[in-house]
């Protein structure tokens, strides 16, 4: 460590490489924090956590009794000096007592990406609320056709402020905060949508994962989804080879064509079979084919039934660089997808136990080195590229539902059904106790009181 500092001083090493190295080391030593605690103000399990992306300071938590709490993660409300633990209590909570507040469980919360003056929450009472942080009131409410499972807003959107909502209903809706209306309806899933994530590289691309096990990529400027992930399509290296991806795309295209025009393919068979078929029959066949294929190009993917998981998709998370997508499913698998090619990279994250009956959250560390997966009562950390389990964070008494990672301090916040929000951080050196003992002594003797800065020994 000292050698690295020396090299950085002299200019032999890139300063950024030193900081990445130090951060990476700290991330790997994450454990239950001995110096920081969040005092949960909720009386039921925590379903969703989010830290704002503007300041990385305020933690938003949504619970199963309909209450939403905001916590300050940097400034503690009081410090327990005996144990040297800083306690963070909720700055405020809103629940069903507030006008238009949620009456049923809050399933998903998110800060407004531009500043922390607003936040959006989605709940099982079929409503999406837009809250004002300062007045603690509901500014806008969207009514959805079914229970809201997931909401997402794009962190890099400059031209739109759309909230994507995944509900029991098979269609993903995009609600506009500026106008107060639903602008888009994205059809394609065959069951409810549990996980939604906007792309980290483009403000127009949305990823959605549903109960039918499919993950779809939507470009909101066009109709229909442009990609459906299939776990059978895989690439063995980190990046796909050029020829493979081109041929696979063609195959995909013909596959979807084939499946959508089932009638058409049978007609094609008929054509191919025997020359004894009259020319009239052939003409009929061709006419039918063209009629079937005149579907809207955006709706072609509706018939593509490839699944990314054998069960439902419970969580989606993009890596920081926007090149990879993690997905967790109820078949107890976490998969890593290459976004560009849409292939499964076949990394096997061992021993995950995802028995969720609702969506959960995955977290990725900032330089994409560790993946945090909530499985049963613990959080397991994995090395992203090899899939090996790095450590298991055990602390909760019930199922862990959500995790949020803070890149600045390399801390992880997890919320679970046991109503606790736990903080996991790299170990911190204990402060020395000199100041307190010296003060006590000074009071007892009544002599000169010594302040913390001064030396307490006589010269």
């Amino acid at each position: 460590m000292l050698r690295q500092l020396r090299r950085r001083e002299v200019g032999a090493d890139n300063p950024r490489s030193l900081s990445t190295h130090v951060r990476g080391e700290r991330v790997r030593q994450i454990n239950l924090s001995g110096h920081k605690e969040v005092v949960s103000a909720h009386h039921s399990g925590i379903n969703s956590l989010q830290v704002d992306c503007t300041e990385a300071r305020y933690l938003l938590a949504g619970a199963a009794d309909g209450s939403v709490g905001v916590y300050d993660t940097q400034q503690p409300t009081f410090v327990d000096s005996a144990l040297h633990v800083a306690k963070h209590e909720a700055l405020f909570t809103v629940d069903k007592s507030v006008h238009l507040g949620h009456i049923f469980s809050v399933s998903s919360v998110q800060w407004y990406p531009v500043d922390t003056g607003l936040f959006v929450t989605g709940s099982y009472d079929k409503n999406i609320n837009l809250w004002d942080t300062n007045t603690h009131q509901v500014e806008l409410q969207f009514k959805m056709p079914g229970k809201v499972y997931a909401i997402a807003m794009s962190a890099m959107a400059t031209t739109h402020m759309l909230v994507a909502a995944g509900t029991e209903d098979v269609r993903v809706r995009l609600c506009d905060l500026a106008t107060g209306a639903c602008t888009h309806t994205l059809s394609g899933h065959r069951d409810g949508v549990w996980a939604l994530q906007w792309s980290a590289s483009s403000e127009w691309i949305l990823y959605s994962g549903g109960c039918d096990g499919a993950i779809r990529f939507w470009d909101i400027r066009r109709a229909g989804c442009f990609q459906v992930l299939d776990h059978n399509r895989s690439q063995i290296e980190k990046r796909p080879s050029v020829t493979n991806s081109a041929s696979q795309r063609q195959e995909m295209a013909t596959a979807t064509m084939g499946s959508s025009s089932k009638v058409g393919s049978q007609q094609r068979e008929a054509k191919r079979a025997k020359l004894s078929k009259g020319s009239l029959a052939l003409k009929n066949a061709r006419a039918k084919e063209s009629a079937v294929q005149r579907q809207h190009p955006g709706m072609m993917s509706a018939n593509d039934r490839s699944t990314a998981h054998n069960g439902s998709v419970t969580a989606l998370q993009t890596s920081d660089d926007g090149l990879h997508l993690f997905s967790a499913g109820t078949d107890s698998r976490v998969r890593l997808w290459d976004i560009e090619s849409g292939c499964n990279t076949l990394v096997n994250y061992e021993a995950t136990r995802i028995r969720a009956h609702q969506g959960t959250q995955l977290a990725v560390s900032m330089d994409s080195s560790l993946l945090f997966v909530a499985s049963a009562h613990s959080v397991q950390t994995y090395d992203i590229w090899s899939g090996r389990m790095h450590s298991k964070l055990v602390g909760h008494y019930d199922n862990v539902n959500c995790c949020a990672f803070l890149p600045e301090d390399q801390e992880l916040y997890t919320g679970s059904s046991d109503r606790q929000i736990l903080v996991w951080s790299p170990p911190k050196a204990l402060p020395i106790d000199d100041e307190e003992e010296v003060e006590e002594e000074g009071l007892k003797t009544g002599g000169t009181t010594v302040t913390a800065d001064e030396d307490a020994w006589s010269d």
């Binding site: 063995i236 499946s259 089932k262 393919s265 068979e269 039934r305 096997n348 061992e350 090899s386 899939g387």
Partner: protein, 372 residues
């Protein structure tokens, strides 16, 4: 430059299944005395004599269909005996007795063979090229492949006739440490059509891996069982299945439209053909999606029941013990009451699933039940 009339090349075809050499083939050469050669005796002697007269120079000649023809006779019997022509060998090795000369060309995606195209007539390669080929054709098999071979050879013997050895995916995970590597190598083996992966309907995420030769033997058995009650036209669907569907589709499941499309390359496909495949046990409808099928192993239900009850038995046995553990050696000596698959099979499977784990101890490895 010696010019020879090239052997009549068979029409190339995409059926590569039958003549893929696996480790068994390389080790045990095809018997020279096999019946039904498809060339006449006179021609055979002609080849033999001419090849003896030839120079031992590697003659590279472009293949008519432009495919790499790699020396298959390298693996068969090393000594300089009378080696039947390549076509002969291929014919000999074809399981389905189809006179398949076409297997020659695209049969072999040999690992690491960068040999040029050569005319493989007679034992033209002789000893020099034999050596070259044996060195270049045989590349180190991957960990996964070795584990698969090992576990296949240790598959328990079951009295019920129509059972072929298969390996569960969880067993592979317990044998090779790196799971990602296993997944990737398995994918490679699937793409090379050496193995076939099937999803088992135990309700959990179970996959069975079977070597291609075993699977083809199973299909054959299913075919012979049904041959008495159905017409020739209907039985043809099995051949279409083997020759058109299996080579192009490596996944465990297949959609109806794709199935029809692939089968119709062989002939007219009707619903009764697909029902015949389902009756034979080779296809099952997917419960989730009514228009898709799983490719399945026929007559495997008995084994699946065994698998489920064996797992339950071991787990309940361990959970009843005082510290939920037992030394591995006495555990392997116990007999399972509800399963025919054997203790070792189940232990490997449960290790891979993560329900038990091994702990080293001074008196040997201890098998302990994993707690949630």
């Amino acid at each position: 430059m010696i010019h020879r009339k090239p052997q009549p090349r068979a029409p190339s075809n995409h059926t590569a299944l039958v003549s893929l050499p696996n480790i068994n083939d390389i080790v045990t050469p095809a018997p020279a005395s096999s019946p039904q050669p498809s060339i006449s005796k006179r021609k055979f002697l002609d080849l033999y004599s001419s090849s003896v007269k030839r120079n031992r120079v590697l003659i590279k000649r472009p293949q008519r269909d432009g495919k790499d023809v790699t020396g298959e006779n390298s693996g068969e019997g090393g000594s300089g005996d009378v080696k039947p022509s390549k076509q002969l060998q291929v014919v000999v090795r074809s399981d389905l007795g189809q006179g398949v000369k076409e297997e020659v060309a695209d049969g072999v995606e040999q690992e690491g063979v960068g040999l040029g195209q050569r005319v493989g007539d007679g034992n033209d390669e002789a000893l020099k090229s034999n050596l070259e080929e044996t060195v270049e054709d045989w590349s180190m098999p991957s960990d996964t492949k070795i584990a698969l071979e090992l576990m296949r050879s240790q598959f328990p013997k079951i009295e019920k006739g129509s059972v072929r050895p298969f390996v569960l995916r969880s067993q592979l995970y317990s044998s090779v440490t790196d799971r990602t590597l296993v997944d990737r190598e398995l994918e490679r083996l699937k793409l090379e059509r050496v193995v076939r992966v099937f999803k088992l309907n135990t309700g959990q995420d179970d996959y069975a891996i079977m070597f291609m030769a075993d699977y083809l033997a199973l299909i054959d058995l299913a075919k012979t069982r049904l041959a008495k009650k159905h017409t020739e036209g209907e039985m043809a669907v099995f051949d279409w299945f083997v020759h058109h569907v299996l080579p192009s589709h490596a996944d465990a499941g297949i959609t109806h439209s794709k199935l029809v499309e692939l089968l119709s390359e062989g002939g007219d496909v009707e619903d009764r053909h697909i029902s015949l495949l389902m009756n034979a046990g080779l296809l099952t409808r997917q419960l989730v999606d009514s228009t898709a099928y799983w490719l399945a192993l026929p007559n495997v239900g008995f084994l699946l029941k065994s698998l489920a009850s064996g797992r339950k038995e071991i787990v309940s046995f361990l959970s009843r013990r005082k510290y939920r553990e037992i030394l591995q050696v006495p555990l392997e000596r116990r007999r399972l009451q509800y399963s025919v698959l054997g203790m070792r099979f189940h232990i490997r499977d449960l290790l891979g699933l993560g329900q038990i784990h091994t702990v080293p101890s001074p008196s040997g490895p201890i098998i302990r039940l994993s707690r949630d």
